[in-house]
Subunit: 412 residues, 2 copies
DNA sequence: TGAGTTTGTCGTATCCACGAACAAACACAA
DNA sequence: TTGTGTTTGTTCGTGGATACGACAAACTCA
């Protein structure tokens, strides 16, 4: 069904002509934000709008302080040179926050996706309460902001949390590793920061997936399955270029796909969940190590495997088999054109590739496997912060005029 | 993220003012098609458009022959009565086709979702070739059309096929039960029917899900998991009110979710697929019956269970357990707000309900289970035809003016 | 029968993109 | 250096589409 008319069909709200303006502004800003600086003539050909329209629209974005135009330098080609429009990264920032168990990361991300400043603080396991977390975030945001020299405004605040996040109200339904339950985290953090910019909270795997489709290996890919492993396993599901959130925002909990009826108990209450077979603990245990050795233990295990230690190799083989078992199922269910592996799975990939692909090929439908690409993440440690930045920018990108107007104290 | 601006954000095509007209026409027609007849004043309040706009738009739909207005009867309330707009069902029909293994169904579905005429022909297992199928469809369409008295026009042709359908080109990638492989079915059927109306082909489970969200129990529900069982198991995934098709259109093949590492071989080449545990064959075999006894054997089994036959009860209990095992996984992955059970699962539901819910509750995340509703399908045998009708109407609904114009010989 | 209410219709205003005409800025060749 | 051709920004008028206000129409109720 190529029914992409350019409008969302389900919204039963009438469309006025101002909506057109808003949509075109949004489109242009998205273009500059995601695909980088572009000359006006490039924008004309990319958008299909006329020169006059693009001129007026860019003018409005400039007036909003989101974009500047460079004075039209000659690039050697014939004809009058076109001024290059570019987002004002340094002046329009998002505060990106990554709430993990062992650390809290905060970054100022400039429009366009540039990480301007990063601060990460480690924290003890007894400082993961909601209040302590918020206090730590506020302090770290202060550090980040102190290091920003120029004048700037904050367009939004994006937060990635290790837990189930209810997207409708930015609340955390449950975060087992933090001991949180039904916390209106977005509201509370917003109040604590005391800033006008909207706060948007999401699950960490979803945020990582967002980073991957906007700034990573999956740029331009419409149907992506992002799989992230560590102690637990999380996933981000992208369909038609958009996140599948599910009814409450809990979609993507692929770590709790039951795969082994005879498996071991999972912390979620079930047993035989995928993450009990492919999580860090299972891998380490199979290699005869302590389940909670963490990333260092995994690295040691991989060294062993390189050295040919049989137990390590066997453990990785079993990891590959179970990884393929679960992935094949998800591929059959979702038919993605790309699977992106992150975290633990990124690390072990070189050791499991052959067996993993065999297992997937054996279990996935041939038609779905045919056009599938499996890749490792291209983003480093800042993936979550990049994604949280995109989360924060989403509102401005969707409606530049409205969002900037909403920031009343936005006199740049 | 409530970034529903009314426009699709990713489309990098400029929006012109004609697009506004098209979107509003589409919206009004959708309203009348899905929610039934409505007075002009109702439409005004539902869409947020002004009286003048609604008047003009309805006028255009009338001119296109899609809608008629009833002469404004008084309904007892104060004020000037508003004329009621209603779709012209009898004059605007879709040809809906259901290609199953044992039979072919063809219906004429009127705009608004009224089934005007149905014909179903049984066919032998040796008449499932592509050519024979197309011939049978053409003949049956002829029978259906002969029974339509009034003058009418065909707006589209929707086809549900038991197999993997590539949505981009309406081709069937593989249909094991029919022995088809890489068949450009849409194009060939269109040519054979020799009609101007566009042909749209989709997987049968997807089509059934479409029927369910538009005309069944899932009307108005945005995130739905439709699960359909028979010999095989299929699924239709709805996210934010739209079908998740996957990159090629193969998404929803939940029957091939691996669930049992020690399971039996599946026809897909893998082993331990969900459908080898919950399909008709498995249920019958566990009850000591022949695997391919078909629906009659299942009914007999259910009778046995009612009579307290131990083997039948045990088989149903095991069915419940495995059904819950797979459903829990899908619920964790997709976080739907409603699961709809069809076919075999609809039939066995009264016998498995308790154990099924227990199993899901045990294995699904509490947060995802909390707001979940599990229901049986509300649609009878014609579900596939209703869904195929919606498939066919989609283009007209998305762009009434353009679609009608494209039907050049559309002089009603 | 008249007052009050709700709704359709018509003309005007507004918003927005398009298109044509013109000017500006460049490369290239004589 | 100058002129030509090319590409692009700008300005202004036009057309499409909805909003808004005024007025007429149709109905209920007292």
């Amino acid at each position: 069904m190529s029914s992409r008319t350019g409008f969302a069909a389900t919204s039963s709200t009438g469309v006025r002509s101002e909506t057109v303006r808003s949509a075109n502004l949004s489109m242009l800003l998205r273009e500059l934000h995601f695909r980088g600086a572009a000359s006006r003539s490039e924008l004309v050909s990319r958008t299909g709008l006329t020169r006059s329209s693009v001129g007026a629209l860019i003018g409005e974005l400039v007036k909003l302080g989101l974009v500047v135009e460079m004075p039209a330098a000659s690039d050697g080609s014939r004809g009058r040179p076109s001024p290059v429009a570019i987002v004002r990264s340094a002046e329009n920032v998002a505060i990106a926050v990554d709430v993990s168990v062992d650390s809290i990361g905060v970054a100022a991300v400039g429009l366009g996706g540039v990480v301007l400043t990063v601060e990460r603080i480690e924290r003890a396991r007894d400082r993961v309460s909601v209040d302590a977390t918020i206090a730590d975030i506020v302090a770290t945001v202060g550090m980040v902001r102190a290091r920003l020299a120029q004048q700037y405004r904050i367009l939004g605040i994006g937060v990635a949390v290790v837990g189930l996040v209810q997207r409708s109200d930015n609340s955390v339904a449950i975060a087992p590793n933090l001991g949180w339950r039904d916390v209106r985290f977005g509201d509370r953090l917003g109040a604590a920061l005391g800033h006008a910019a909207p706060v948007c909270v999401a699950n960490d795997a979803d945020v990582a997936a967002l980073a991957e489709i906007h700034r990573g290996v999956a740029v331009g890919v419409d149907d992506v399955l992002y799989v992230w492993g560590e102690v637990g396993v999380g996933g981000g599901l992208i369909s038609k270029g958009e996140m599948i959130t599910g009814a409450s925002g809990f979609a993507g909990e692929i770590g709790h796909l039951p795969v082994n009826p005879l498996g071991r108990a999972c912390q979620c209450g079930s047993r035989g969940c995928w993450e009990t077979e492919v999580g860090e603990g299972a891998l380490l245990q199979r290699a005869g190590r302590s389940r909670d050795g963490g990333r260092e233990a995994v690295d040691a295990l991989l060294d062993d495997a390189l050295g040919g230690v049989a137990l390590a190799v066997a453990a990785l083989n079993e990891e590959a088999t179970w990884l393929g078992f679960g992935l094949a199922g998800l591929i059959n269910v979702l038919n993605p054109s790309m699977v992106v592996l992150g975290g633990l799975f990124d690390a072990v990939y070189p050791f499991v590739e052959g067996r993993l692909l065999d297992e997937i090929k054996r279990r996935a439908l041939a038609s779905s496997f045919a056009n599938l690409v499996i890749v490792r993440t291209a983003l480093g440690e800042d993936a979550l912060l990049l994604g949280a930045g995109e989360l924060a920018f989403e509102q401005v990108l969707a409606d530049p005029l409205g969002a900037i107007r909403a920031l009343t104290g936005s006199a740049l």
